[in-house]
C-alpha cells in the first residue's frame, strides 16, 4: 500500500502558507515566532493584523476584488 501525500509546507490558493510541525519564523523586524500548533498558517497577503500568522484578512481582500469585477 502506498503512503498518502502529506506535505509539510502547503501554499493555499489566495490564502496562507500552512506549516506542519515545529518551526521558528524570523519576521522582518528580527523577532522570532515559534509555532505552537500541529499546523500553523502564515500570512501571505501581507495584511494580517497578527503577522506572521494569518487572521483571515485575505478573504476580505478577495471579496473586495470580486465586488470590483464588472457584473454585466
Amino acid at each position: 500500500m502506498s503512503d498518502f501525500e502529506h506535505a509539510s509546507v502547503v501554499l493555499c490558493p489566495a490564502g496562507p502558507m500552512l506549516l506542519r510541525g515545529k518551526h521558528e519564523i524570523l519576521d522582518a523586524d528580527g523577532k522570532v515566532h515559534r509555532t505552537v500548533r500541529p499546523v500553523s498558517a502564515v500570512c501571505m497577503c501581507g495584511r494580517s493584523a497578527i503577522k506572521p500568522w494569518c487572521d483571515g484578512t485575505h478573504r476580505l481582500l478577495s471579496a473586495g476584488a470580486r465586488d470590483d469585477e464588472p457584473t454585466g
Binding site: 498518502f4 502529506h6 502547503v10 493555499c12 490564502g15 496562507p16 500552512l18 505552537v36 500548533r37 500541529p38 499546523v39 500553523s40 498558517a41 493584523a49 497578527i50 500568522w53 494569518c54 487572521d55 483571515g56 484578512t57 478573504r59 476580505l60 471579496a63
Partner: protein
Amino acid sequence: MLPKSRGTLSAAVFTALQSGATADLVPAPESEEDAQVTLWALYELHYRGFDEVDPDLEWDPDLLRLRRGLERSFETELRRRWDASPLREAGELTDLIDGHDGPSLARFVQRKADREQVLEILRHRSLYHLKEADPTSWVVPRLDTRVKAPLMEILFDEYGDGDPNRLHHHLFRRGLEAAGLRTDHACYVDEAPVEVLALNNALSLFGLHRRLRGAALGHFAAFEATSSIPSRQLAQGLRRLEFPDEMAAYYDEHVEADSVHEQVALRDVCGAFLEENPSERDTVHLGAFTCLDLEARYAHAMLTQWGVS
C-alpha cells in the same frame, strides 16, 4: 440540572428522566421550543448527563425511540430549508459558504452592542463553547485514514494540543469567570432561545449518526471558515466595552486557530472526504448550509429582539 420544561412533552420527559418511568412517552411536542429543549436534554445524556438522572438511561430504548421521532421531524425541517435554498446551486463548498449572506452578530458586537447585550450572547454561546468540538469528535471513528488524520489534526488543536490550559472550553470558562458569569456546564440552558437549542441539536444530530457524518464535516468546515473575521470583531467589541482580557483572549485564539482550521477543514477534511465519497456531496453541503442558516436565524432573532434590524 435538567432544564426547565417548555411545554407538555418536555415536562413529561423531564419527569420520566427523574423517575425512570419512560415507557409511555409520545413524541408530540406542543411547540418547536418544546421539541428542541426535549431533544437537547436527550442528547445531553450522551455528553455529561444530569446529576438527577440515572446514567443508565442514556441507552434506554424508550428514550431512544422518542429521540428518534424528534430527530426525524428536525432533520425533515433542516432538509426542507436546504431544498428551498438557492445555495443548492453552489458548485463547490467554498462557493456555498461565500454565497451565504446573513445578519452578523459579531459586527453588531464590534460596533454597537452594549454590555448587557454582549453578556446575553456569552450566556447563550456558553451552551456550545463549554463543549466546543465535542459533537464533531463523535465522527472520528466513522472516517477512513485520509480524512481521519486531518480532522484529528484540528481537533487536537481545539483540545489544547495536550495542554489543558489551552483547551478551548477552558479558555471560554476563564473568560466567563473573569466577566463575572457562571462557568458550570450548560448552566444557562434556560436562557437559551429556541435558535440556540437548534444550533446545538443540529451538531449532535450530525455527530451521532454515521449516516450524517458528511453533514457533520460540512458543518464543521462552514463553522471554521466563518470564524476568524467574526472572532476578531467580537474581540474588538469586548475590548471596546472593557471586558476582561480573558474573554477577548478566547476570541483572539480563534482568529489565529480558525485561520488554520478553515484551510485544513475545507481542503484536507471535506475535500478528501468528497473525493473518496462523491455521492456524499449533498449531505456535506446540507451540513454547511445548516450551520450558516441556523447562525443567521439566531443573529436575526437577537437583532430583532433588540430592535436593531
